[in-house]
Symmetry: C2
Subunit: 311 residues, 2 copies
């Protein structure tokens, strides 16, 4: 058994335009840094080394809840872990902050234990953490956080079904305006029902986006990103959205939209130069609006949460 | 210019379970046989060599309307064609009978003219014929009838967007119970709106089916075929559906559902032997129900409407 294991667990984008609740991708940065070591006593001890004042009670911490689910599955009453978490991903940013912590914790423990769990099982376990964070059992951020790359959560029930989607190299530009959109509010504006014709257009785009990724057709990816259902409902929550998108497209981005339930916006791009230009263009909109913002630019990460150090 | 051109224009399946209005595939048989030759006078002369008493007035015949749209695009007032049609596909079978005639007519004329039109443009032109047949402008049967293989109609507007989906070799079993389901009735039972959660499950399956085809994952294809929205609404129109599906699955079929608006049922299968077993199993259900039926078994056709003879 190693003395301690450190994991880098990446930010992720969910929805990806048309694919509400089912599509996602892993970013190369930012990421949470999670170090796990054997504790002297059974149970969990969590420490945070960041500025966000997240709860350290394991039952109230997403990483703690995920790790507790893993411990229950292992069923070794003597086992306990210490978990040091340094969040590189701001909570509430809409780029999978809670998923990164939950994924990192279970990936760390799985490595410590000699990998008894599959990636799919790790997502299942980490979903307990996501349920604490959002009140709903979902995997659209966890799937890319653990599998890396682009992922499709085809089903949650009767059994979790995740499809890794091979894709060409792509870059991502993310702008995170420093405004708060609570996930519950973002859910509350969603329509309970959608017109069948609009749903058809949406699933045509999901098919187009998946095909575009798998046959490496940049133009098809761009055309397919459009979201007819969720983004129109949430657009009012996010100032600058239309203008930021327009300028990013003018800068050469393939397409994009709100990441998760916001407030971050993402744009997929064919290369680094375009992603940097798209990020700068989106940043310009928020500068003009006098809304503070963060920018993230990087390639889609082929890998999910990964071992960064082992002692 | 050739003296005459004969086209075999294939039956097609639309919807493919989860992909209502957007997914389709081309069968290798049955097919319509369409022979086109230059007419002595401008305009169209249509003759039918089959038992279905379809209208031969070009303005009331789907092939005629499609061909007239092509003639209008060519804009040669002197040009006229004779069209001989032998339908191999029964009208009202739900396997793209009208699409085959419309596609065959425009493909024949395109060949005669030296291929001035792209496949996408041919679908656009043939959609005029489909609009006559169903009252709606749609391309989910025409796309595979002209492109062959599996197709996704990603968008009809603002411009038609069709994606050809490379797929592993697959076989299809089709049972056509001899009952009448009018397209208009099949449309009337559709819900005007669908719960968002169900729409999400549906588009997850569309993504899964497209991914399954492109990465040649038979099990994923099978899991993804399930239709949560359209088939439940139409099931009552089609006696024997649940039992036929159950027996086909038991015979090894990957999955399937109602073809188009019915009454045909299809099952995708990994190989010929399984497709024959699935067809026999479905036929058994209709024999027990004392409903006459036709069976079609064949591979998915890589090609759409094609030149069979040229004089």
């Amino acid at each position: 058994m190693p003395h301690e294991i450190t994991i880098h667990s990446p930010a992720t984008l969910s929805n990806l335009g048309c694919g509400f609740d089912v599509l996602g991708l892993a970013l190369s940065a930012p990421y949470d840094i999670i170090t796990l070591r054997r504790a002297a006593k059974p149970g969990l001890v969590i420490r945070h080394f960041d500025e966000y004042n997240l709860p350290i009670d394991p039952a109230q911490n997403v990483a703690g809840v995920a790790l507790q689910a893993l411990l229950s599955a292992v069923n070794d009453p003597a086992l306990g872990f210490e978990l040091d978490i340094t969040k590189g991903i701001r909570p509430g940013s809409g780029i999978g902050s809670s998923a990164a912590s939950a994924a990192g914790a279970v990936v760390a423990a799985n490595e410590w234990l000699g990998r008894p769990f599959s990636k799919l099982e790790l997502v299942e376990l980490a979903m307990h953490g996501e349920a604490l964070a959002s009140g709903a059992r979902h995997a659209d951020n966890l799937a890319p956080a653990i599998f890396g790359g682009f992922t499709l959560v085809r089903a949650l029930l009767p059994t979790l079904d995740i499809v890794a989607l091979p894709a060409p190299p792509l870059w991502v530009a993310v702008v995170h305006p420093q405004i708060e959109i609570r996930t519950k509010d973002a859910r509350a504006v969603l329509p309970a029902t959608v017109p069948l014709g609009l749903a058809v257009r949406q699933w045509a785009n999901v098919g187009g986006l998946v095909a575009g990724l798998l046959i490496a057709d940049h133009a098809l990816i761009g055309r397919s990103l459009e979201d007819y259902i969720v983004e129109p409902a949430r657009a009012a929550l996010l100032p600058g959205l239309a203008e930021a998108r327009a300028r990013a497209l003018a800068a050469g981005a393939l397409g994009g939209g709100i990441s998760g339930s916001g407030p971050s916006l993402f744009m997929l791009c064919a290369d680094e130069a375009t992603a940097r230009a798209a990020a700068a263009a989106m940043g310009g909109v928020y500068r003009e609006l006098e809304i503070a913002f963060l920018l993230h630019v990087g390639p889609v990460a082929g890998q999910g949460a990964r071992v960064a150090a082992r002692k």
